[in-house]
């Protein structure tokens, strides 16, 4: 089979919309264009019915009740709503929030803003495998703690935090538990009751749905979670999120959730085999490459590898017909390498040398083989021109060298 270039291997960033999802959405742009809040004519009823169907489809994917789903514009908004909403609603009870250093910026920056408003935030460190320590979590909880927010799966290294254990601790201590589940929902089993999660953020475009729509699961029983809204207006979504509903987007999200539920088992098995194929081929062709993060507690479709002695952006330049991401500072505007990889304590040089591969619904064996072979060639070529590789081969310990920095 001929390979179509460029190859997309960045499914953690976004996913294409499944054609079956597009098909479900189309009528809601044109013929069924009503406002779901219009209560007095069939255009509104149709739209509302479609939204409620989608609400159930999303709820079913995570073992929730449809009434517990609040539609938003995406996971960033869901994260903001969960954290700011709890912070405001439970301020009387306490002002302490616990999160983790490897969270998505939508969590970290929201917490930082609350710190300016007088809240106290504990950023738990992660171990070398990218997972938090449950002992650290336990000892961080105080009588002022109102919220624990820990992501389910990391967007860079794909490691899956011990969510069920965190949920049990939160329940035992009477603290609310939110998880940014964007990378996990639809990819691996995720049940809000088994995991004892009180709130969970989701995004349609990470699971073959459209961009611009997401959801926040908000538990209604044991305990009933109350949130102060961050967007005021017409009182949509039970007052938690005002604004006219994005009906076509929500319909697409629902369809995408339904497909993920049906196909998750087969798809995750196929993708984990594909991921292992990529990993094996790279390891056979190259020495000194390191997987970042736990290989045991990990999304089936994620691989994050550091190619020692080679800088990430120059690597991406050499595989410019493959879409992947790098933790290299040169690929970001900040000139700082990935804070997630730095948090693992692997050393900044390995953070600069990392590539994130995200496989997905349309990834194939042929693509994996092409990408692996191309990378082996490029890494070999770049190592030949790397002074670090030369020094290492001469037996110099790079970590003890005195580098000339500004």
């Amino acid at each position: 089979m001929a390979i179509k270039l460029p190859i997309y291997m960045d499914y953690h960033a976004t996913t294409p919309v499944d054609p079956r999802v597009v098909e479900a959405m189309v009528p809601f742009f044109t013929t069924h264009f009503g406002n779901a809040a219009s209560r007095n004519h069939p255009f509104g009823w149709e739209a509302e019915e479609a939204v409620e169907k989608a609400r159930k489809q999303v709820a079913d994917l995570i073992g929730a009740n449809a009434k517990e789903i609040v539609f938003t514009s995406g996971a960033t908004e869901s994260d903001n709503l969960a954290i700011k909403g709890v912070a405001e609603m439970y301020r009387e009870k306490g002002n302490h929030i616990i999160t983790c250093v490897t969270e998505h910026k939508a969590i970290i920056d929201t917490c930082k803003r609350l710190e300016k408003d007088g809240y106290r935030v504990t950023y738990l460190p992660v171990k070398k495998d990218g997972l938090i320590s449950l002992d650290d979590l336990r000892s961080a909880i105080s009588d002022k703690t109102i919220l624990i927010t820990i992501m389910t799966a990391n967007n860079e290294i794909g490691v899956i935090q011990p969510i069920a254990e965190i949920g049990a601790i939160a329940k035992e201590k009477g603290v609310l538990f939110h998880t940014d589940a964007v990378q996990a929902v639809g990819k691996v089993p995720f049940n809000v009751n088994d995991l004892k999660v009180d709130m969970a953020s989701m995004s349609a475009h990470k699971m073959y749905g459209p961009k611009g729509v997401g959801a926040l699961y908000v538990r209604r029983r044991n305990p009933r979670v109350l949130l102060a809204p961050i967007i005021d207006g017409g009182g949509h979504e039970r007052g938690m999120r005002s604004g006219t509903l994005n009906v076509p987007g929500i319909v697409g999200f629902g369809k995408a959730a339904e497909l993920c539920k049906q196909e998750m088992a087969a798809e995750s098995e196929r993708l984990s085999k594909l991921r292992d194929r990529l990993d094996d081929r790279l390891h056979k062709g190259l020495d000194e490459i390191y997987i970042n993060g736990s290989t045991e507690h990990r999304l089936p479709h994620n691989l994050n590898i550091s190619f020692a002695y080679v800088e990430g952006e120059s690597l991406l330049m050499g595989i410019n017909d493959v879409a992947v991401s790098s933790g290299s500072a040169c690929t970001s505007a900040s000139l700082e390498p990935s804070y997630v990889l730095k948090a693992l304590g692997a050393g900044d040089d390995l953070a600069h040398s990392s590539i994130r591969f995200g496989l997905g619904r349309w990834s194939t064996n042929e693509e994996v083989d092409y990408v692996a072979d191309k990378l082996i060639n490029v890494v070999t070529r770049l190592r030949e021109m790397s002074p670090l590789y030369e020094l290492a081969k001469e037996g110099v310990d790079l970590s003890t060298m005195q580098w000339q920095t500004d």
């Binding site: 800088e311 330049m317 900044d348 002074p387 670090l388 580098w403 000339q404």
Partner: protein, 142 residues
């Protein structure tokens, strides 16, 4: 990020990749940058002791495409220049030649630093050698 065609050319066909013996008294070596910053450049010049002209230049770079291109271009420019002419190469010359965007200016600065470090190393070696020679001459009279 879009690269200029010159950066891509240097990345795909780097000039003068390699190493020369560090111990050679006519070779000056500059090693600048740091792995944790994402850029390390090694630049070497080989100077003809009779003429003071740089006969050969080699580089090895760990860094982004612009860093590789900056050091590759530097080696091209160094060949045939005298040591003093080499010291006159400015990072802005590299920026202009490669059309580097503002976020990549540090790559050109590093290349200029590497040139200066290599020449400083060469000069140090020459002085040390001259010192040894005068010592050797001095010995018999003692």
């Amino acid at each position: 990020m879009a690269y200029s065609s010159k950066v891509i050319d240097h990345y795909e066909n780097p000039r003068n990749v390699g190493s020369m013996p560090k111990e050679d008294p006519n070779v000056g070596t500059g090693l600048v940058g740091a792995p944790e910053c994402g850029d390390v450049m090694k630049l070497q010049v080989k100077v003809n002791p009779q003429t003071g002209v740089i006969d050969d230049a080699k580089f090895k770079t760990f860094g982004c495409g612009s860093a590789i291109a900056s050091s590759s271009l530097a080696t091209e420019w160094l060949k045939g220049k005298t040591v003093d002419e080499a010291l006159a190469i400015k990072n802005t010359d590299i920026v202009n030649e490669l059309s580097l965007p503002p976020v990549k200016i540090h790559c050109s600065v590093l290349a200029e630093d590497a040139i200066k470090a290599a020449i400083t190393d060469y000069k140090k070696k020459q002085q040390a050698a001259a010192g040894k020679v005068s010592e050797a001459h001095a010995q018999p009279t003692m």
